[in-house]
């Protein structure tokens, strides 16, 4: 009995205790294909092995918080900017100025007050399946979405569980003012077929023809179209908000040196080009020397609003807006 138990204990311990050399543990929030392409390219460039987990940016923040006393991860790669900002302000992430800092697009750095390292930018837009519209015209503006012709044909993510949806709410409020935005949201709500829990899911519903119009990030719409779904992607005329994805060094990272090497590498034009070439990810990359992918939505042709990241990234503002949405819009029967 004693022997069996000891053997069991020893076996468990052996399984658990893998060798610990320098390697990068990555929390990866963008598209899975991009995350998968990073590891081999990074290891080829530097010889350092890389393991990653793909989790949404909210999930990533939750994990970094939960593990703050004993971090598992070294770098948090990508994902919408607000949680990166929160992580920085809470001190569970560390601001590291990379050597390529001066090559990063200045506007991206300035709108976030240089509080975290910008990795890419992507704008909100409409992703439309014309076939599923059933003859109704393409919506051109946010206001068009309130047209009763689109009843049951619109999908957007659920603001209570998706950062994408929150960016959409904040966009509308910044364009129309809070009260008018909520009136608009109420009318759009009547046309909504489904609020999805994941930010990229509306485009998939539209792709399969289960809805006709998806409100979400344009680079995801472009991706689904590239995969073969019959979708067109564009920005509404009144203007759209956008996200600035971050790359962040986690405070007390277990492999700090390797983590810094990864951040330096990930911001080079060669590494950033991987996103579009292998990663099915068509955001605007943050290094101005990166050759942007032809499918990436061109920011010069989009009416971008002046998104106030400092104000709308504040957890208290976020909480207030979401509560208002939950109390005023969510209960309306449709």
């Amino acid at each position: 009995m004693a022997r069996i138990l000891l053997a069991l204990v020893a076996a468990l311990a052996l399984v658990a205790g893998a060798a610990q050399a320098q390697r990068v543990n990555l929390l990866c929030s963008p598209d899975l294909a991009w995350c998968e392409a990073l590891g081999p390219a990074f290891t080829e460039a530097t010889g350092i092995p890389l393991d990653f987990i793909r989790v949404s940016s909210q999930d990533a923040l939750a994990r970094i918080r939960a593990e703050a006393a004993n971090p598992v991860f070294d770098v948090w790669f990508g994902g919408t900017g607000d949680p990166h900002l929160i992580a920085m302000r809470e001190g569970i992430a560390e601001m590291y100025i990379p050597t390529v800092w001066d090559e990063l697009i200045p506007e991206l750095k300035s709108v976030i007050n240089e509080e975290y390292i910008p990795l890419y930018a992507g704008a909100i837009g409409f992703v439309v399946n014309e076939e599923a519209l059933g003859g109704a015209p393409l919506p051109r503006t946010w206001r068009d979405l309130t047209d009763p012709a689109y009843r049951g044909l619109i999908a957007m993510p659920d603001p209570t569980s998706s950062g994408t949806a929150y960016t959409t709410l904040a966009t509308l409020i910044q364009i129309f003012g809070e009260d008018e935005a909520f009136e608009l949201l109420e009318d759009i709500h009547l046309n909504i077929a489904q609020y999805t829990s994941s930010g990229a899911a509306p485009g998939q519903l539209a792709g399969r023809g289960e809805v006709a119009i998806a409100v979400q990030f344009m680079h995801d719409g472009v991706k689904f179209a590239a995969q073969g779904f019959p979708l067109t992607t564009y920005a509404p005329e009144e203007g759209v908000g956008y996200e600035i994805g971050g790359i962040t060094l986690i405070a007390n990272a277990p492999n700090r040196d390797a983590a810094i090497e990864f951040i330096e590498w990930a911001l080079t034009p060669e590494a950033q080009a991987i996103a579009g070439q292998q990663g099915e990810s068509y955001q605007i990359q943050s290094n101005m020397n990166t050759e942007q992918h032809p499918l990436a939505p061109d920011f010069d042709e989009i009416n971008l609003i002046e998104y106030d990241f400092d104000r709308w990234g504040d957890p208290e503002v976020r909480d207030r807006i979401l509560t208002r949405w939950l109390n005023e819009i969510f209960p309306i029967p449709r």
């Binding site: 009995m1 004693a2 138990l5 000891l6 069991l8 204990v9 468990l12 311990a13 399984v15 658990a16 205790g17 893998a18 543990n25 990555l26 598209d31 899975l32 294909a33 998968e36 393991d51 990653f52 987990i53 793909r54 989790v55 949404s56 909210q58 999930d59 923040l61 939750a62 939960a66 593990e67 006393a69 004993n70 598992v72 991860f73 049951g152 659920d158 209570t160 569980s161 077929a193 489904q194 609020y195 999805t196 829990s197 994941s198 990229a200 899911a201 485009g203 792709g207 399969r208 023809g209 289960e210 995969q227 073969g228 779904f229 019959p230 939950l326 109390n327 209960p331 309306i332 029967p333």
Partner: protein
Amino acid sequence: MGLRFSGAWLPALIAIVGFLALPFGRPGRPFLTIDPNLYGWAIGHPLLWLVLASALAALVISLLKLPTSPRGDLLVVAGAVGLGAGVLWLLLTATPFGMGALVAATGMALVLGHALSESGRVQGDAFIATSILIVSLFVLLFIIYPLFMVLRSAFVIEGAFDLSQFRRTIGHPLFFFLENPRSAIDEVGLTLRWGVVVGLLSAGWALFRRQRLPVVLARLVLGGVLGLILGAMFYGRGALPTSLLTVAIVAPACTLLGLAFALLGQRSRFRPVRRSLDVISVLPIITPPFILAFAMIFLLGRRGIITHGVFDISSNWIYGIPGVALAQILAFTPIAYLLLRGSISSLNPALEEAAQTLGAGPWTTLKTITWPLVRPGLAAAFLLSMIESLADFGNPMILGGDRNFLATEVYLSLTGRYNAHEAASYGVVLLALVLLAFFVQRWWLGGGSFVTVTGKPSGGALAPIPRAIEVLLSAVLVVWTLFVASLYVSIVVGSFAQLWGVNYSLTTRHYRDFMTAGWPVFLYTARVAAISAVPAMLLGFLVAYLVSRHRFWGRRFVEFGSLLSFATPGTVMGVAYIFAFNTGPWLLTASATIIILALVFRNMPVAIRAAVAGLAQIDPSLEEASTMLRARSFTTLRRVLFPLLVNTLVTGLIFAFVSAMTAVSQVIFLVSPGNQLATVLLLGWVEQGQLGRAAAMGTILIVSMLLTILVVLALAQRISARVVRVES
């Protein structure tokens, strides 16, 4: 009489060596780091000296020539002090335990086991006493403690008892709201009306049955409450009424369908019917999560092949309660069937024959003989489908639409709203519901023995079911089989289609993608699942043996613990493990170990049930004979029970393995870099729209699990035949 030495000398020596040679704590996550500052003797804390001192004392005492019983008592003291001091030090300093602590604690636990047996405080030899001790410790550490941490996180905020967070969650519209000012109807009024109507109906029924007045009043109140709950489920919104309404649809449907299939399976005149039921019954266990829900969308959704293609319906009905309920009925009916099959097959045909000899027709027999006898089985099937429905994570994730469900809210509140207190509060509610269901079931079944198998062969053939009913049930089965088959076929088709749902030209692209991105994860998952299955089975067997063959102090505790581990919804247990094993002395997260442990304690109850059922068929006199011949209990277990139960145990092993392969909700929070699991990866692909690849992985999982089950069960039959032959 007395042994010259106590058997405790060896484990005491092991504890001493472990304490001296291995570090007691560790600086961080890695297990095998040797930090010279963290040796027990280098730290020099009085509690640690106490550990060493009591281990030495145990060694000396066990070698002393003393009467067995008082020596046992002394050893109990030494073992308990040593174990307690070590644990206390870990708790006080919150240092992650090291290998030294692990070995020393194991040694001291073994000392304590020997001592308890020798002192006569536990009836049984050292093996039994040690097993009881170890099993209790496991239950405490890996089931009770994590759940306690969930409670703590729901009610304790920054060190103080605080109900505000719990109240906030409960009062939140995502959890439950009834009166909707934006709707045209008056929800509260309608709910009240439901309460009144159902209350009056149930009281009226009691009057009609000429019950006494207090009973009628009690019926009025109970019925009123039931009506209010029904009304709130129907008119309310939020996670609580949504989950309850789904349960209210799924549990009766699964139980009825399960009963229908069980009747067919045991009493049908056609062999193919019984054969197809055997296949249907394993499907839910081998099917990975999420995939079936997608197949349903492509068959029944707005653009579904059946709904849109055949019937030209364009409706989003599938998102929400109807879709989730349908998916759950498909998934859990086979589970209800398996339970009911047992209770139908254990009906003694002689009873029915007797009824029919006395002139009862098939209907009367069914009503007066069969029904009361299958009632416990029905209750068990109802309860199980209820728990499964409440805990289901995969189907609401895909088909929930914008309705919230309790089990997914646990996940979404932690990952979408990053609020651990809220996740814990949802967990507490789920746990409370499940436990309530258990107690209601106990209360309903009450006393009364339903044992009809006496161990003596029961003669007579099973009465066939009435012809009309058989035809009806067979029709249900045929529709069911066709639908399930088309779902599985569409998964395979989806895995070979360019773009599932849009472009059906053939490709092997998804399988090639799977080989590069998914195959290593698949292999790793298989390894982890295999590693977890062995302890799950052994532990389950041990618990079953202890609980059904021994009376000991703490037996209820062990029973309750294993019940909890089985009843706790997976997402709640996953959150609990994060709370319990992320910092402090039991730091285990971000390792394969924590995943394996989670799977072991998740699947242990399956093995327990299998082993209890197996043990019930073995006459205890066999073991008594072995004990009489002076075999120790471990020898009896190994030489008598084990060979007789090989078949059961291998079945338990294989099901533990398969359910570990397809588990998702309990491990979704526990994966870490390098410890990725197939089902979690599958969720990632599904969320990213890589449906073809997901279908490819689903197909490979289903086929490989099916093959595994078939091959292993065939082998097991052969092995058990040989073992029985050799032993006799």
